[in-house]
């Protein structure tokens, strides 16, 4: 089914156990929704992680595997019981394989209003270069 781009994503997708990685913590883990764009010099990743703060977020790049993790605090209000719940609160986890060389020293990540933005500058050799063709 084709997804309407303008539609707001209704629910957080929970990470499936089928990812073959078993978790040691008894907690829900969600897969953050992402936007990924690219221009000549960078790759950009934007991930929705409501509830996460900069202390709990971890972005790591190992070889060509980029991992995003975030620990989120539980929602608790003293003297209040849950009467209606439409979303679950839990950690975030998502893994990407980058198919382009990235300059790992210049990777930038920031978190604002629950959105993680990562800028991955392309390594020099991976940038598109136009090669002049000589007339032979």
């Amino acid at each position: 089914m084709e997804e309407n781009i303008r539609t707001v994503t209704p629910e957080k997708a929970e990470a499936r156990e089928a990812s073959r990685v078993e978790r040691t913590k008894d907690r829900k883990t969600f897969v953050p929704a992402v936007d990924i764009t690219e221009d000549d010099s960078n790759l950009y990743i934007f991930a929705d992680m409501p509830g996460a703060d900069e202390k709990g977020v971890n972005v790591s790049l190992e070889n060509d595997v980029l991992t995003i993790d975030a620990q989120v605090e539980d929602q608790k209000f003293e003297g209040h019981g849950v009467s209606y719940a439409e979303y679950g609160v839990g950690d975030y986890h998502r893994v990407f394989t980058l198919n382009e060389a990235v300059d790992r020293d210049r990777i930038e990540a920031r978190l604002k209003n629950g959105v993680l933005s990562i800028v991955l500058p392309k390594a020099e050799e991976a940038k598109t270069r136009s090669i002049p063709i000589k007339v032979g």
Partner: protein, 146 residues
């Protein structure tokens, strides 16, 4: 994922039917209605003196959220702007939704509109809705008759 756990939350069969109808519509037409009816998702916590509602709306300017309270109804309105793309930038993936949203929720009791507090942090909106003074349960002492 909807859980009905509260004893003072009124279950409304019509609302459930409407939700069901919308789901069927979206299956048949392959499209979803705009604005999305179940965005932003909400969690409701009830206490004796107030109701706390939390809602996940990541990446929005708090000024773009409009909240109104009338009696026992809370309305939330806003627009989530799409990710901006500059000239020469191309998309690889687009999963984050955007567009306008509108939701009305019925609260378990009337609310004192002047005392409602809303706070937006880490992409989560938290609204504290104190129960209206006139509606708080009052203890009535029974006097002994002759």
């Amino acid at each position: 994922m909807i859980m009905q756990t509260g004893k003072n939350w009124r279950w409304d069969p019509w609302r459930e039917m409407e939700r069901f109808r919308r789901e069927v519509d979206s299956l048949v037409t392959g499209t979803r209605r705009l604005p999305a009816a179940n965005f932003p998702p909400m969690n409701v916590f009830s206490g004796d003196e107030d109701v706390i509602i939390t809602s996940e709306i990541p990446g929005i300017d708090p000024a773009d959220i409009e909240l109104t309270v009338t009696g026992d109804t809370l309305t939330i309105k806003g627009t989530r702007k799409p990710q901006e793309v500059r000239e020469g930038e191309k998309w690889h993936r687009r999963e984050r939704g955007s567009g306008s949203f509108y939701r009305s929720v019925q609260l378990p009791y009337n609310v004192d509109g002047n005392k409602v507090q809303a706070d937006y942090a880490k992409g989560v909106l938290t609204i504290v809705l104190p129960r209206s003074e006139a509606e708080r349960p009052r203890k009535i002492s029974v006097t002994k008759g002759n």
